[in-house]
């Protein structure tokens, strides 16, 4: 009897808490999408912003976001994958791996504002790259590097030792083993890592603002400054420029994140089914 009551209380409270989680999610998404989706239209998507975004669309911002994200991912992916391969395949027995790994872990924990400070001090000023896609992209690349390394490493770790042994025992070299067996079998994991990195890059505000600037115009080169959707949203929200554009931008961001998540899930589940 007492057990019954205890169980009731237990299930009741965890149910309620989980329900709260659901409610907060639904209310945030619902509220923003409800107020924002209506304002997303062709004009909003394809026109350049006017008068600080009060009028017009966010076309240049979307393009800026895409280019910046793409650039950072293009920089970070090969480095991240290679680093992950190093940690899982080459690190054994090398004493200096400990510090390297430690620093990577540190990198993952650094708040984005610090990346921003660093990017500003290093790329923008020290290297004289100014506020530019280059500065922002490189800063973001460093920022998403740990995410990529971690995701790739996790998926490399799921490649059973037995694959490596199988390949080596057939007389394959280590590099052949990596390129022909290990990487193909964890490609979906790497892809998931990239998508997560993309998500993080798209969502980042503080670091981007300090390194890529907040120029509203369409960028024409990598040395141009640009404004990402998150920065734009922040500006719109904090300046109180236009509530409807703010909602529309927020909604668009949510929708993009939704698409990215769905893609990531699709890849992961396909991967799981395959293995």
């Amino acid at each position: 009897m007492i057990k019954k009551i205890k169980q009731g209380a237990f299930y009741g409270s965890i149910g309620l808490l989980a329900f709260l989680v659901m409610i907060s999610l639904l209310s945030i998404m619902g509220y923003i999408l409800f107020n924002g989706v209506g304002h997303i239209n062709l004009e909003f998507l394809t026109k350049e912003p006017r008068s600080m975004g009060r009028e017009g669309g966010i076309f240049s911002v979307i393009i800026g976001t895409l280019i910046l994200t793409l650039f950072s991912v293009l920089i970070a992916t090969p480095i991240g994958v290679a680093a992950a391969i190093f940690f899982t395949e080459y690190s054994a027995g090398k004493k200096w791996v400990g510090p390297i790994r430690f620093f990577t872990e540190i990198l993952a924990g650094i708040p984005s504002i610090i990346f921003g400070l660093f990017g500003f001090a290093f790329f923008v000023i020290f290297l004289g790259l100014g506020w530019s896609i280059l500065s922002g992209g490189l800063t973001l690349a460093i920022m998403i590097l740990p995410t990529l390394i971690r995701a790739t490493e996790e998926s490399l770790k799921t490649v059973p030792m037995s694959y490596r042994e199988g390949s080596l025992s057939l007389g394959a070299t280590k590099l052949q083993t990596i390129t022909r067996v290990i990487i193909p079998s964890c490609l979906p994991g790497i892809l998931t890592g990239i998508i997560l990195g993309v998500g993080r890059a798209i969502g980042e505000t503080a670091a981007v603002m300090l390194t890529a600037g907040s120029n509203l115009r369409m960028p024409t080169s990598l040395l141009d400054s640009t404004r990402t959707m998150s920065v734009h949203l922040y500006t719109l929200a904090s300046e109180g420029i236009s509530l409807e554009k703010t909602f529309a931008t927020a909604s668009l961001l949510i929708i993009i994140v939704l698409i990215i998540n769905t893609a990531a899930n699709a890849i992961t589940s396909k991967y799981i089914i395959k293995s």
Partner: protein
């Protein structure tokens, strides 16, 4: 063939070292910019000074630390039970399909840019606290007053933001509890609740703790959402409805207008933030390794 492999191997090593170089560079640049003032002003005065007014040459960041900690603590108080409960429900109670939907919803939470949360907090939560929560509080403490820009608002938004971290890591560590433990417990005649409370949660303990610490790290490091909703008042708070300024918020906000010394001071704040995060990371790593050691 061999030479080619050697070259590739070297390249891979270089890539691995890049993160180290980054950290070193970050550290160097931040410390280079922040250390002088920290030294001149005095570390103790800097950390324990209660007056943050850089224009006046006062660089006491205790109010900022207090602000950060109070918001973070609030976020944990709200977020941890919700997160763990969700993790339990996800991994132990909900049937597969429903769990998948719930899970992807939570992953979505993780993907939403923090500015969106800040915006939501600013537009919904802050007024709501002022108009709905304050009157309720005033029933108990008649003198209470708030603008809505508060620890409480920040804590709620941060709680939601750290939920995905807590849920996904806790869930993973709960899922990593071997099915055999569940079976063993049930086979001994324990019911599901007893199994969860007495076996599964203790077994996943270190993972859950790690998730909390990582969530805490995220809360401490969060910037934009916090600027929008905590009021940025560099004052040691007296209650959850008070406004506070945080370390990150102050850096982001003041960086733009700061003159040289002020900017150094902000870098110095960055150093302190950096240290706090490092400390948390170390704790998280130790507890994560503890998990591995146990299994």
């Amino acid at each position: 063939m061999k030479a080619y492999e050697k070259i590739v191997e070297k390249l891979i090593i270089v890539c691995a070292i890049i993160s180290t170089i980054s950290v070193v560079l970050i550290t160097v640049f931040i410390f280079r910019s922040g250390l002088p003032i920290l030294m001149n002003y005095g570390v103790i005065d800097f950390i324990f000074g209660t007056n943050w007014s850089p224009t006046n040459g006062n660089y006491g960041i205790l109010p900022l630390i207090a602000g950060t900690l109070s918001v973070t603590l609030g976020a944990l108080i709200i977020g941890v039970p919700m997160g763990i409960a969700s993790a339990i429900i996800l991994s132990e109670i909900l049937p597969g399909k429903v769990a998948r939907v719930f899970k992807s919803a939570i992953e979505l939470l993780a993907g939403i840019p923090s500015v969106v949360y800040g915006f939501f907090g600013l537009i919904v939560l802050v007024p709501a606290i002022r108009t709905f929560i304050l009157p309720i509080v005033q029933l108990v403490v008649p003198k209470a007053t708030t603008t809505g820009f508060s620890i409480f608002a920040g804590a709620i938004i941060l709680a939601i933001m750290i939920l995905p971290t807590i849920v996904s890591i806790s869930e993973n560590s709960i899922k990593a509890v071997p099915r055999e433990f569940r079976e063993a417990s049930l086979a001994l005649g324990a019911n599901k609740m007893e199994t969860i409370v007495r076996v599964i949660i203790p077994a996943a303990k270190s993972g859950i703790i790690a998730s909390i610490i990582l969530g805490m790290g995220r809360a401490i490091g969060e910037t934009m959402a916090v600027i929008l909703i905590t009021g940025n008042m560099p004052k040691i708070p007296g209650g959850p409805l008070d406004s506070v300024a945080t370390l990150t918020g102050t850096i982001a906000m003041e960086m733009g207008y700061a003159d040289a010394t002020h900017q150094q001071a902000l870098f110095a704040v960055g150093i302190i933030l950096f240290m706090i995060i490092m400390l948390l990371n170390a704790i998280a790593q130790i507890s994560a390794h503890g998990l591995r050691g146990n299994n």
